[in-house]
């Protein structure tokens, strides 16, 4: 079977298009590359959707935590504490079983036990909490002069937030937020290792990589392939976020711009 044929059969296997059965023996390098690559669809889906939706909630959380009113601050603080203080792994398990229990009571929760929605909600809450904390830190470090200048111009309320505070907050938070995005993508590999079932063997990249490692007892091929894919993904994320960073910093002299530094970060 030629490699092109393999790509046709398994290229979209992770979303259920193509050959039903996974290859069982005599694995070729091409098959491993194709299947793990097709699993990346899920990683990218989880990462992108959770990031985009989480971004708005994170802004709310960050602003909420910076408020002086107790009614706004406490819920934001607690939300951030709960999702940052516990392992994502346990959150996935808890979320899955929570939805499972709800499902047995109400039919409405039927799709929530599937990975595409249930895991997405957990990831959404998780990234919102982590980014909310980043945004909160950035809000605290907005130069006093900027806000005073806005006041002097007579900007108030929503206009002041939209024109001055929010862009500055984003600019200050962006390098840290880039790291958050990268590690969110890494965290998506956990999904199918927790309760969420990979229905009809439609899993993510790590799911297929460990499938091959289990079948061949040889971790030295699938995991480096997976690593290669993730390094590529990381480079793409850095490029995209770097472009945004350049735009956020465009009014500053070259020397004052904040550069994005990739910091080695960790499991959550």
């Amino acid at each position: 079977m030629s490699c092109l044929q393999t790509i046709q059969d398994y290229g979209l296997r992770a979303v259920g298009i193509g050959e039903r059965l996974l290859p069982r023996d005599n694995f070729t390098l091409c098959e491993q590359f194709t299947l793990i690559g097709s699993g990346m669809i899920w990683n990218i889906y989880f990462g992108v959707v959770a990031l985009v939706t989480g971004f708005f909630f994170a802004t709310l959380l960050g602003v909420g935590k910076a408020q002086s009113s107790l009614w706004l601050r406490k819920p934001a603080e607690w939300f951030i504490f709960v999702f940052r203080g516990s392992p994502l792994f346990i959150q996935f398990f808890f979320g899955y079983f929570l939805f499972l229990t709800l499902k047995s009571q109400y039919d409405f929760f039927d799709p929530f036990t599937a990975a595409w929605l249930g895991a997405l909600i957990v990831l959404f809450c998780n990234t919102a909490a982590y980014s909310g904390e980043i945004f909160y830190g950035a809000l605290q470090s907005i130069p006093k002069g900027d806000v005073e200048a806005a006041d002097a111009y007579g900007l108030t309320g929503w206009t002041r937030f939209k024109r001055v505070i929010w862009p500055t907050m984003l600019r200050l938070a962006w390098p840290a937020y880039t790291n958050e995005a990268i590690f969110l993508f890494h965290a998506t590999t956990l999904v199918f290792f927790t309760g969420f079932p990979a229905w009809q063997q439609r899993g993510d990249a790590l799911y297929y990589a460990s499938y091959f490692a289990d079948k061949t007892f040889n971790p030295f091929i699938p995991y480096p392939i997976l690593a290669g894919y993730f390094i590529l993904l990381t480079i793409c994320v850095i490029a995209a976020f770097g472009a945004v960073n350049a735009r956020l910093n465009r009014h500053l002299p070259q020397a004052n711009r904040r550069k994005i530094r990739l910091r080695p970060n960790l499991i959550r």
């Binding site: 203080g85 398990f93 990589a209 390094i231």
Partner: protein, 267 residues
């Protein structure tokens, strides 16, 4: 009962892994600063290798790789007369005597061996993170301190052990305490390594029980078990946070940093 036992397993893992990972990290950071180039490359590569790749892939990778590496070495040492290739297509075949642990070993040996592999994996991965933190901390020690040491006629080795290492901890502590939090939060990954830890037991005990097999039948309680775990971890991280804050206060006293200055002013 098993659930309580597995909590102890998690605590033991933390107690063993933290110092070992710190030692790995220290060795890595020292190597990255070495004058001998290959050693320096080794240290830098060790620090760099964990970036850009999901950590959980490392966990899955190292356990199999270590296991096979150990068996391969034992195979070479114990069965010199073996003429078949070790990799037969998809199979990894070593002679019976080289199996690790031995096939006829009791159950607890298997469990301990799995646990030891897990600890080693955790230590390697977290050692790399710790190495990165310590490497940065070593560079953060004010250069004037090292120059003063040189002016007093200390050798490189003496400067390193008597001036650099005692001073670097205060710079390393924020990073290390962050690492400790992450280590706590990484312990559920033990489950993936095949150790029967709290996640395993929470799933086992929480599942539906029918009166036929147990004296305490109940429905699906897994949600509540995992809620308990969630709270357990929250309390654990909260307490660690408080303790580490205290420690940081203690360490910054008398240091030439803004933190130390603030302490001096306050006193």
């Amino acid at each position: 009962m098993a659930l309580y036992g597995s909590v102890v397993v998690v605590l033991v893992l933390l107690a063993i892994t933290a110092p070992v990972a710190l030692a790995f990290g220290f060795a890595g950071a020292s190597a990255a600063r070495a004058q001998f180039a290959p050693l320096r490359w080794l240290g830098k590569a060790y620090i760099a290798i964990v970036r850009g790749v999901p950590d959980i892939a490392f966990f899955l990778f190292f356990v199999i790789a270590l296991d096979q590496g150990i068996e391969y070495l034992r195979h070479k040492a114990l069965c010199p007369g073996w003429d078949m290739p070790i990799r037969q297509g998809n199979d990894f075949v070593v002679c019976q005597a080289a199996k690790m642990p031995l096939g006829n070993a009791p159950q607890w040996v298997h469990e301990t061996y799995g646990f030891a592999l897990a600890v080693l994996t955790f230590s390697i991965v977290f050692g790399a993170f710790a190495a990165n933190v310590l490497f940065g901390a070593m560079r953060a020690v004010p250069h004037a301190q090292l120059e003063t040491a040189a002016a007093y006629g200390m050798t490189r080795r003496q400067t390193y052990w008597r001036v650099l290492v005692p001073q670097m901890w205060v710079y390393a502590l924020p990073g290390l305490s962050n690492l400790w939090m992450v280590l706590i939060k990484a312990t559920p990954l033990l489950f993936l390594l095949g150790v029967e830890d709290i996640v395993y037991w929470a799933r086992e005990l929480g599942g539906s029980k029918t009166p036929r097999f147990t004296d305490y039948p109940h429905g699906d309680w897994r949600m509540w078990y995992f809620l308990g775990l969630l709270v357990f971890y929250l309390i654990f991280t909260r307490v660690s946070e408080k303790v580490l804050d205290r420690l940081m206060d203690r360490l910054t006293t008398g240091q030439a940093t803004t933190g130390g200055e603030a302490r001096r002013r306050a006193a």
